[in-house]
Amino acid sequence: MRRWILALDISHWTLTLDVRLMEQPEAVREAFEQEFGRFARFRGAESAAFDGLRLADVETTLRELSDLRTRHTGKKSALANLKKQIGRAAAEERAQFAQAVQQLEARIAEEIAKVERALQDTAARLRTERERLDVTLPGRRIRRGHVHPINLIRQRLEDIFVAMGYTVEDGPEIENDFYNFTALNIPESHPARSPQDTFYTTDGFALRSQTSTVQIHAMQRRQPPLRVIAPGKVFRRDTPDATHNPMFFQIEGLVVDRGISMAHLKGTVTEFLRRLFGTDVRTRFRPSYFPFTEPSAEFDFSCFKCGGTGCALCKQSGWIELGGSGMVHPNVLRAAGVDPAEFSGFAFGFGIDRMCILLYDLDDIRLLFENDVRFLEQFD
């Protein structure tokens, strides 16, 4: 430090002394190099000097380096002084002196820049490391809920039938005797009417035991031709077990028009099942008996899991039983004010709960109404 001040002092009055003049850049260089020495090891970002260095160390070093630059190249630095002296130097020496000063300036700048670059690169690298994200952590959002599986299927069925030209209808869940039984051609003595099977209110109404009740409402509301589906809740006095609930969901389909045949029924059921399960579904009818249809048939469809070759789902038969169907009984048409001489119709119905069992492999339908969120969360 002293030497440096001394050099300055000397410069004031030895301007014309060429030897001294030429010695000055050399002194400035030495002074710089002595101070720069501790930074020199950081030349090049891959230098071993960086090993184990933390970001804070690097940032400190960068700040120190910046101070060093100010001291050695700033307005008040020895180098700045030298540059001022260029103009005052004797003409014959000026060029040489100027060159020496320029070389010194370039060299100092280069030395500092080299180290600075290495330090900055390292700092950037360390900063990147420190701010590196764990992109596998889950995104931030509220945990969403889930639609009940019954309604998931119900929406899907409604979408399919609406696309097929059906109107979605609904009726009351508490019915009178006429709609629940009489209009459906269920005789007075039929066991379905017994309080063993059907829920009755204290004032004599029945909880609807099938969505077929909506057939009557629909025909009364709209005269034929019509095509409707009626999904909804129904009630039967079954004690809950793995395959029964006293409340469940059905969907009913009804088409009434001139010239409707059983082949239309079969084609419609097939078309709907293909839209639900895929184009290779086949259906078959098995003759059956229901009071509100004649002829009546149960319909099966080829197992969507094994394609008909036999598996656990279809109990090795290749067929899955789905529901009941048939041509609307003329008594039912009459009860709803439709002339069976002019119109014929078909109806079909099946359980949405049963569809749940099939589609989701459900082994206990009591789960459907327990509302355990661990259960509900499984469906989308």
């Binding site: 609406v162 003595s189 002829p295």
Partner: protein, 714 residues
């Protein structure tokens, strides 16, 4: 009905294996549920449809097989090996009540030897699940299983005056039935009596006194046709169900009475010795005429869509026992008498036939019944898939889009959809404040609940007037299974009794929400914070926003099931439609909830029907707004809504909105006060407001608020 494969093959010679039969019968409507091996025999378990009484017999099933395979039916032998004397020499029959017993036949077999049945008979009965008793009882059983006609054997010696009287029981009359239970009878029950007392419950069960025993010598074989309704009523009333009542209830073959009896008598003579009378006393005062059913041949194709030829129709129906009794063609042309039905149908495919249904087919009554028989035996497997011509466009239920939008919005808010049973415990009756739409009805003085007369369990007898009890039960279920953070919603009907002038009980769509525990983030185990009133309110608002009904209004209220001071009445367009708040402590305690639970119930029907609030364009502001915040220290009772209304009602020019930034309450503030910070926004439509102008407006507002609420500006 268990059908023995070997037995069946005696009645119809088919070459099909038991498994092949199973498949074929199932596709004809006789569903064979199982085939099991029984020694050298197979047993087919046939699920007989409830309208097919005739299939509760081997002969009935054999008839189907015979039509199916085109092989003739073989009626079993019914001629007794030994016969002498007329039945009237040994007994007498009187029907007092022919309305309940249109036909009764009695035949006697004398000098029988009661003992065990031969091995083949025992094996056969056992194969189909019957317990052998003695040869006489076994034979009556056997013939019933063969023909479908229930038969009963009386020990003739034990019949007082050796005669039969078929009559209604006297009220209070008693009868010890074969199962050793003493039955008390009423005047609507039909009994078989002797000269003195009831000896059998007609069509249901015999009496113990006249039972066949080891010492029985002469037997009276009863074969009758009883009114199905009468047998059903008696069996129901006494809680009895027997093989006989099963058959009589569905309707037996009234023309087959004597033949089945002859078959029984022939077997007794063969297997138990004795001599039969040459005839039976057959009391049949009024012959039952089978219904005549008209069939228009073209209707068969039209209704089934199957390519059925008229000849197929005649062939199938005839084989099933339907007899063509009359035919008409267009123009009323008379047919030569010797033309067969088959020929006629071939020449006139448009003809109309009348068929007399066979006496064993009580289910054939109308044209469609005949068509079903033809279609069924022609084979539904030949049916094509056709689609009816479209005549309309599809349509969802009214407001379906709103239902789905609400569902989607609630799911996005973290709520899962629940479905609960519609019947609940009456203990919840007074627990919940009902929806305004139901509450209004409760005030007319009548019982406002709908109650089940025959619930499965006593604690599920009430049709729910509120969805909340179900949702709270679901919360409890989840708590019990370790899930403490639960958010559920349900839409469904709630019920109220009908008013005096109404046709049926009242049903209304409701929407309910429940939330408790912590706010949960997706796929993160840690929960951020406890849910509170505002989370539930927010979810509700999100649902309503998605439904586009226009905004809800909330006002502090008291509701029976909500904690005081944390309850709001919710209104839409000025009409109250529900409540939201924290569950009252007493109810929470009853459910053993130890954490706050928030519930809401809305009149979903009102929301669905609300006029839609469509989006409407407002021109974008052309000049920037200026905002000023004001913090007011107010009494805790002063609501945000009041403050905002106060600001907006000043109608200060350019003051566009007042929104809440922050609410602070705590120990730094005087008791019963809180600090609300509002942000006021000022904007002029035509220019940029200067700060000095705004300062003046702001000053006016603050002064007005200060005056109205004694609010201190901080």
């Amino acid at each position: 009905m268990n059908i023995s494969y070997n037995w069946l093959r005696e009645l119809v010679a088919v070459e099909l294996s038991a498994e092949e039969l199973r498949e074929r019968l199932t596709m004809r409507g006789l569903e064979v549920e199982a085939v099991t091996q029984a020694g050298d025999d197979y047993v087919l378990e046939v699920a007989v449809l409830s309208n097919r009484a005739d299939l509760l017999s081997h002969l009935g099933v054999a008839r189907e097989v015979s039509v199916l395979m085109g092989v003739p039916l073989r009626q079993p032998d019914a001629t007794p090996v030994q016969a002498e004397g007329r039945a009237e020499n040994f007994t007498a029959v009187e029907i007092v009540d022919p309305d309940l017993c249109p036909r009764y036949a009695a035949r006697i077999v004398r000098s029988v030897k009661v003992g065990p049945s031969p091995e083949w008979l025992v094996k056969r009965l056992q194969a189909v699940g019957q317990r052998p008793i003695n040869n006489i009882a076994d034979i009556t059983n056997y013939v019933m299983l063969e023909t479908g006609q229930p038969l009963h054997a009386f020990d003739l010696e034990k019949l007082y005056e050796r005669r039969i009287v078929v009559r209604r029981a006297q009220t209070g009359e008693k009868l010890m039935t074969l199962d050793d239970v003493e039955r008390e009878l009423d005047a609507e029950m039909l009994v078989i009596a002797d000269g003195a007392r009831a000896v059998a419950l007609a069509g249901v069960m015999g009496g113990a006194d006249s039972e066949i025993s080891a010492t029985t010598r002469d037997v009276l074989i009863e074969s009758a046709y009883f009114s199905p309704a009468s047998v059903r009523r008696t069996a129901r009333k006494l809680g009895m169900q027997t093989d006989a009542s099963d058959r009589f209830e569905r309707g037996t073959d009234y023309e087959g009475v004597v033949r089945a009896q002859a078959r029984c008598v022939a077997l007794i003579c063969e297997l138990a010795g004795g001599a039969a009378t040459v005839d039976a006393i057959d009391v049949y005062p009024q012959k039952i005429e089978p219904p005549t059913v008209t069939l228009r041949l073209p209707r068969v194709r039209a209704l089934t869509g199957l390519p059925i030829e008229p000849q197929d129709t005649i062939r199938i129906l005839t084989a099933l026992g339907c007899e063509p009794v009359q035919a008409a063609v267009l123009g009323g042309e008379q047919m030569p008498a010797d033309t067969t039905a088959l020929e006629l149908a071939t020449v006139y495919p448009g003809a109309t036939f009348s068929f007399a249904g066979p006496s064993w087919r009580t289910d054939i009554r109308i044209e469609e019944d005949l068509i079903e028989e033809v279609g069924r035996h022609f084979g539904y497997e030949h049916m094509q898939d056709e689609l009816p011509a479209a005549n309309a466009v599809g349509e969802y239920r009214a407001h379906e889009e709103r239902r789905r939008a609400a569902r989607r919005a609630l799911v996005a808010q973290g709520y899962s959809e629940a479905i609960n049973f519609s019947f609940i415990d009456a203990a919840h009756d007074e627990q919940f404040e009902l929806l305004p739409a139901l509450k209004a009805r409760a005030n007319d003085g009548t019982d406002h609940f709908v109650t089940l007369a025959n619930p499965i369990i006593e604690t599920a007898a009430r049709m729910r007037p509120s969805l909340l009890s179900g949702l709270l039960a679901a919360v409890r279920h989840n708590f019990n299974h370790g899930t403490r953070d639960v958010s559920l919603f349900e839409t469904g009907r709630v019920f109220a009794a009908r008013g005096a002038d109404e046709e049926r009980p009242h049903e209304r769509d409701a929407l309910a929400l429940v939330t408790t525990g912590r706010v949960r983030e997706a796929e993160r185990a840690t929960a951020s914070r406890e849910v509170d009133f505002y989370d539930l309110k927010g979810a509700l608002e999100a649902a309503i926003e998605a439904m586009k009904t226009g905004a809800l209004e909330f006002a502090a209220t008291d509701a029976r099931h909500l904690r005081a001071g944390q309850a709001a009445r919710v209104s839409l367009a000025g009409q109250a439609i529900g409540t939201v708040g924290r569950l009252a402590d007493e109810i929470a305690a009853a459910y053993k909830f130890r954490q706050p639970v928030y519930v809401a119930e809305m009149d979903f029907a009102a929301l669905l029907a609300a006029r839609p609030a469509p989006a409407r364009y407002t021109p974008l502001p052309r000049f920037p707004s200026v905002v000023r915040d004001v913090t007011l220290l107010v009494d805790r009772h002063v609501s945000f809504a009041e403050l905002r209304r106060a600001v907006l009602e000043l109608h200060i020019a350019y003051c566009q909105s007042a929104e809440v930034i922050d609410v602070y309450e705590g120990e730094k503030l005087p008791e019963d006060t809180r600090a609300i910070t509002l942000r006021l926004e000022f904007r002029a439509p035509e220019r940029t407001l200067r700060d000095e102008e705004v300062d003046v407006l702001y000053g006016q507002i603050v002064a007005a608020l200060g005056q109205k609420f004694a609010a201190h500006l901080r």
